[in-house]
Amino acid sequence: MEQMQVDESVMKVEEPGHVTISNDSYEMETTTGTQPPHPGVHLESKTRLQIVVKKLHVCGEWKWLQGGEDTCGICRMEFESACNICKFPGDDCPLVLGTCRHAFHRHCIEKWIAAPTNQPKAQCPLCRQDWQVAEP
């Protein structure tokens, strides 16, 4: 989860419940209520309203497009968590997909391929097919 702050941006109210942010401030006409507070007295008004967003909290969630809901079969951590070698998840610890469609943390599968017992050819830890990285 990441949090972003947007300061001094301007919010545009297009329809109730839908908001877009633009660089310009937005002006809109106020329409006074249909039920005047003072019966018998009704003055026309053309004042315009400007909304300036001072602060906005945005919550984001990221997920690898490959890999699905699963965990890495080698380190047993979620794909979106760091592998056993890394401190932080994300771009530093991406997934690698084999031609067999099995995905692992890059560091986890690299270590398996590099193991002396897996020379010259390593197999997929899940299906034992010869491991080959899938074309992107």
Binding site: G73, C75, R76, N84, W112, T117
Partner: protein, 190 residues
């Protein structure tokens, strides 16, 4: 010091506790997470039924890219178990995969008990009796099943004496062992 293999073993341990497979249990020793002790209960309706077999698992910093060394501590009579307790099982050697964990290892050994592989005998007498004289084979297995209770009692003896000393005095030694077995058997069903 935490290393990738130690972190993986902590996850294995957590999984064993949260989602324990039937009939096996295991835990790292108190001072070394690379050295584990485990118990496999003999599968029901097999000659190994009611056995409580102790094993040791020794991991290295290469785990899970290399399998642990697994040995029976309890005496075993099985076509694929050597006299020193080491086990001839393909997934612990050339068919190892880094996706295996402690639970997978222990359940594989548990199913090996009643499904020996006569093509790779580690105990030639056990292999021969298994194929040629099943009655004698089962008799020999029954002997090591009974021995496993004695070993089990001995190893856990200290704890039993501390916790149940007054009761234990009133019972003949054999019944103390039986009590332990009941605990073990109920554990395997849980």
């Amino acid at each position: 010091m935490t290393t990738p293999s130690r972190r993986r073993l902590m996850r294995d341990f957590k999984k064993l506790q949260e989602d324990p497979p039937a009939g096996v249990s295991g835990a790292p020793t108190e001072d070394n997470i690379l050295a584990w002790e485990a118990i496999i209960f003999g599968p029901q309706e097999t000659p190994f039924e009611d056995g409580t077999f102790k094993l040791s698992l020794e991991f290295t910093e290469e785990y899970p890219n290399k399998p642990p060394t697994v040995k029976f501590i309890s005496k075993m009579f099985h076509p694929n178990v050597y006299a020193d307790g080491s086990i001839c099982l393909d997934i612990l050697q050339n068919r190892w995969s880094p996706t295996y964990d402690v639970a997978a290892i222990l359940t594989s050994i548990q199913s090996l008990l009643d499904e020996p592989n006569p093509n790779s005998p580690a105990n030639s007498l056990a292999a021969q009796l298994y194929q040629e004289n099943r009655r004698e084979y089962e008799k020999r297995v029954q002997q090591i099943v009974e021995q496993s209770w004695l070993n089990f009692g001995e190893n856990e003896g200290d704890a039993v004496m501390k916790d149940e000393a007054p009761d234990a005095e009133d019972l003949p030694a054999g019944e103390v062992v039986d009590d332990q077995m009941d605990e073990g058997a109920s554990g395997s069903n849980a």
